[in-house]
């Protein structure tokens, strides 16, 4: 996630080319992360634009305490968490599951029934486990990166990944 110092500095100064480079560098990964997290591409695209709006407005306040990339990922992740919470507060959990299946990207892209079941099972996981699993197994982050991003200890994240996998295994076996 590291950026050369001069890119960070140029971004903070508001250099348009540097900002564009920043979007191009992190944008694709962030959009995929948001899509996997919220389970709906249209919604993810809205959050994606919102992420960059916040990055834009927050750049001047960015003190460089974390890496710029990590800071942006954290903004995206917080937006996705808020969005999930907001959605779920309005809906019965069974509907959440049904809708996330209906609009799941896997539903559209992958033909495999097994992967479809897996995606459904992931959507059913409790939020902290789902988040840890998505970041670790689908986004390929290290536990250190995850800890930096989420603010949770590495050990906690490891256990969440394990329990998430155990829960998935149970769900898939039942199916």
């Amino acid at each position: 996630m590291g950026e050369p110092d001069d890119l960070v500095e140029r971004c903070r100064r508001g250099d348009p080319e540097a900002l564009e480079q920043l979007v191009k560098q992190h944008g694709p990964v962030i959009l995929r992360l948001l899509t996997r997290y919220v389970g709906d591409l249209g919604r993810a695209e809205e959050l994606f634009q919102e992420t960059w709006l916040r990055v834009k407005s927050g750049l001047k306040r960015f003190r460089g305490e974390a890496e710029l990339g990590t800071w942006i990922y954290r903004i995206a992740l917080n937006l996705a968490r808020d969005d999930r919470r907001r959605q779920a507060r309005q809906l019965d959990w069974r509907r959440v599951a049904a809708e996330s299946v209906a609009s799941s990207p896997v539903d559209r892209l992958a033909k495999s029934e097994e992967l479809d079941r897996l995606q459904r099972a992931i959507d059913e996981l409790p939020a902290p486990q789902r988040e840890a699993l998505v970041l670790s197994r689908l986004e390929g982050m290290t536990y250190r990166q995850m800890a930096e991003l989420t603010g949770s200890p590495e050990g906690t994240l490891r256990s969440r990944v394990y329990w998430a996998m155990a829960a998935l295994r149970r769900q898939l076996d039942e199916a």
Partner: protein, 617 residues
């Protein structure tokens, strides 16, 4: 839920996860391998985790976002970042948002003159630049015209200079600010004129273009056919429409236009016409009348399809294009026999009415009418089901199935077929029937009988007809899935019942009613279900309690005997006597549990089983 236990790993889990992630030292790995050989349950757990890991790996390979959507989203975000930096760069003067939104003027066609507002141009230009309203190419490529001062083509991302003209080399989109886009088809020419009076001015000519966006401002379009005033809304303008734009016209016309949203007024010396969403119109030259291009019959088809499928305006436009093409190819909308068909339909329905009322009827006339009707239908290229098939092919599957799962038209069909709406709804959902298949289903069941004759279709007939009109593969697929779902639901239900049904103690029937009440509360039984459970518990307890009272002393004696007996043979003997004594109690307890097991739906059991899983949401 992710409670504290789930934030902690025990030693075994820690070892397995580390092993899985390849983090074990060789010695630790050997030790684990030894354990795996000795403990099959751990080996099985590891294997299951491996399977899940492999599956997750496969899921990771599936890119959840198509490449073009990534590209589009990144582009928009990048443009957003760049736009802000213009403002951050110290140009502090900004036009009020509404003022700019209202000031965008589009001029199409040659000969549009800007007037004498040169004095204020520089100030306006600065204001527009400060607001970030300088047109920017979002997508595509614009080549400079020969007379342009610009030497190279403007690629995606380029800000277009004032006073220059470009031609679209490929389908291109230009951002006009405030969420408005100008789309250009190849060959369309756009001139970015010097702004005046706070207005962004473009001149577009020589091709097809569209104005779209979430909040399109009012615009003025000047063309050979007249002037277009849009109050607000999305439009597509075809300067020289291809043949068939209006479903039969030919040659160039002054202007042709489709409205996607908002209200648009076309005017020229010959008259004025106001259009709403989904409508199209043309005017050939300035003194020709401005007219709607979709004739009423096409428009009524679009209206019907829009009601059925909930078409967006863009989809209405696409469907309109399709209908226009079909009309041109098949000439079905103005079919020469349309009137005759209508007459025949009327006459045949009168015949059936007379039959019902036992009046004297002319059966020969009916048979002749019917034969002619069938002949005309067979000869006509018009097939509503084939139109539906094509329209449904254009729409997302979810939209089609949503439309048919909740549609008054299907309920009317149910009435015609003589089945209840819920039966037809069930069959539609069960076999995932499309609209086209439903229509073929009705045709199959109807046979030669006229369309207004009410049928009396049995459920078996309906299913037989489904099997006749639906491809075998579809039937197999839905049957397989239904069987799978049924099996899964049953297994899930049994498993949950195993967890939730109360363990009724056959030696304490006085507790059964209370346990049943607890079950009813936990599973959130409906009042009816609760009442049934309560009554059954009372009835069975009424049988069990007298028996329990009569045998309790004997049972207590046997328990005491069992406690003091050490000889295994004697103990077994006492246990058998105790089992014999409590057998009726067990049978009653089983009956009560069976009744309870039948009451709740799977969804009730799931809610009861995982009441706190979603606490965090």
């Amino acid at each position: 839920m992710a409670d504290e236990r789930e934030d902690i790993l025990d030693e075994r889990a820690e070892r397995l996860l580390t092993y899985l992630e390849g983090g074990l030292e060789p010695a630790q790995r050997e030790a684990l391998d030894r354990d795996l050989a000795e403990q099959p349950d751990v080996a099985a757990e590891l294997e299951a985790l491996r399977r899940t890991e492999r599956l997750l790996g496969e899921l990771r390979e599936v890119d959840p976002v198509p490449a073009e959507r990534v590209e589009r989203a990144v582009w928009l975000a990048a443009a957003q970042m760049r736009g802000d930096t213009d403002r951050a760069g110290g140009r502090s003067r900004r036009l009020p948002r509404m003022a700019v939104a209202a000031a965008i003027v589009l001029a199409a066609g040659l000969g549009y003159f800007l007037g004498s507002l040169r004095e204020s141009q520089d100030a306006v230009k600065k204001e527009l630049i400060a607001h970030g309203s300088r047109p920017q190419v979002l997508e595509g490529r614009l080549a400079p015209l020969e007379e342009s001062e610009v030497a190279t083509a403007a690629p995606a991302g380029a800000l277009l200079p004032w006073g220059q003209a470009f031609v679209a080399d490929e389908p291109s989109r230009i951002d006009l600010g405030d969420g408005t886009e100008l789309g250009l088809e190849p060959g369309a020419v756009v001139s970015v004129l010097e702004p005046a009076e706070g207005q962004l001015r473009l001149e577009v000519s020589g091709g097809r273009w569209h104005l779209a966006g979430r909040k399109v401002p009012a615009a003025t379009v000047v063309a050979d056919g007249g002037t277009i005033q849009t109050q607000s809304g999305e439009i597509e303008v075809v300067g020289e429409p291809a043949e068939g734009f209006n479903g039969g016209g030919s040659g160039p016309v002054g202007i042709a236009l489709a409205v996607f949203s908002g209200v648009v007024t076309l005017s020229n010396p010959a008259g004025q016409l106001t259009l709403g969403a989904g409508e199209m119109a043309t005017a050939t030259v300035a003194d020709s009348p401005v007219k709607r291009v979709w004739e009423p019959s096409v428009q009524s088809c679009i209206d019907a399809l829009s009601r059925w499928y909930g078409l967006s305006v863009f989809q209405q436009y696409e469907v309109g294009q399709l209908l226009s093409e079909l009309r041109r190819e098949q000439d079905w909308l103005v079919a020469p026999h349309e009137e005759e068909l209508e007459t025949l339909r009327e006459r045949m329905s009168r015949f059936w009415l007379s039959q019902l009322e036992n009046h004297g009827t002319n059966a020969r006339q009916y048979l002749e009418d019917h034969a002619r009707y069938r002949q005309l239908l067979n000869e006509s290229p018009y097939r509503w089901e084939s139109i539906l098939a094509q329209v449904e092919g254009m729409l997302p599957a979810a939209q089609v199935s949503r439309a048919w799962s909740d549609m008054p038209e299907r309920d009317r069909m149910a009435e015609r077929l003589g089945v209840t709406p819920s039966v037809l709804r069930y069959v539609t959902r069960r076999y995932e029937l499309t609209g086209e298949q439903l229509i073929r289903l009705e045709q199959y069941l109807r046979g030669d009988r006229p369309s207004d004759e009410a049928l009396a279709t049995g459920f078996d007939d309906l299913v037989a007809a489904v099997n006749a009109v639906v491809p075998t593969e579809q039937i197999r697929r839905v049957d397989r899935r239904a069987a799978q779902q049924f099996h899964q639901r049953r297994e899930r239900r049994d498993a949950l019942l195993g967890q939730l049904l109360p363990q009724l103690d056959e030696t304490h029937p006085q507790a059964w009613s209370r346990q049943v009440q607890q079950f009813a509360r936990r599973v959130r039984l409906t009042p009816g279900q609760t009442d049934h459970a309560r009554r059954t518990a009372e009835e069975i307890s009424a049988l069990a309690l007298p028996y329990y009272e009569s045998m309790s002393r004997k049972l207590a004696a046997l328990e005491r005997q069992l406690a003091g007996e050490t000889d295994p043979v004697e103990r077994r003997h006492i246990e058998v006597s105790r089992d014999e004594l409590t057998r009726p109690m067990r049978a009653w307890a089983d009956r009560l549990r069976e009744t309870l097991a039948q009451l709740p739906a799977l969804e009730q059991l799931e809610l009861a089983y995982r009441p706190t899983d979603r606490d965090e949401f």
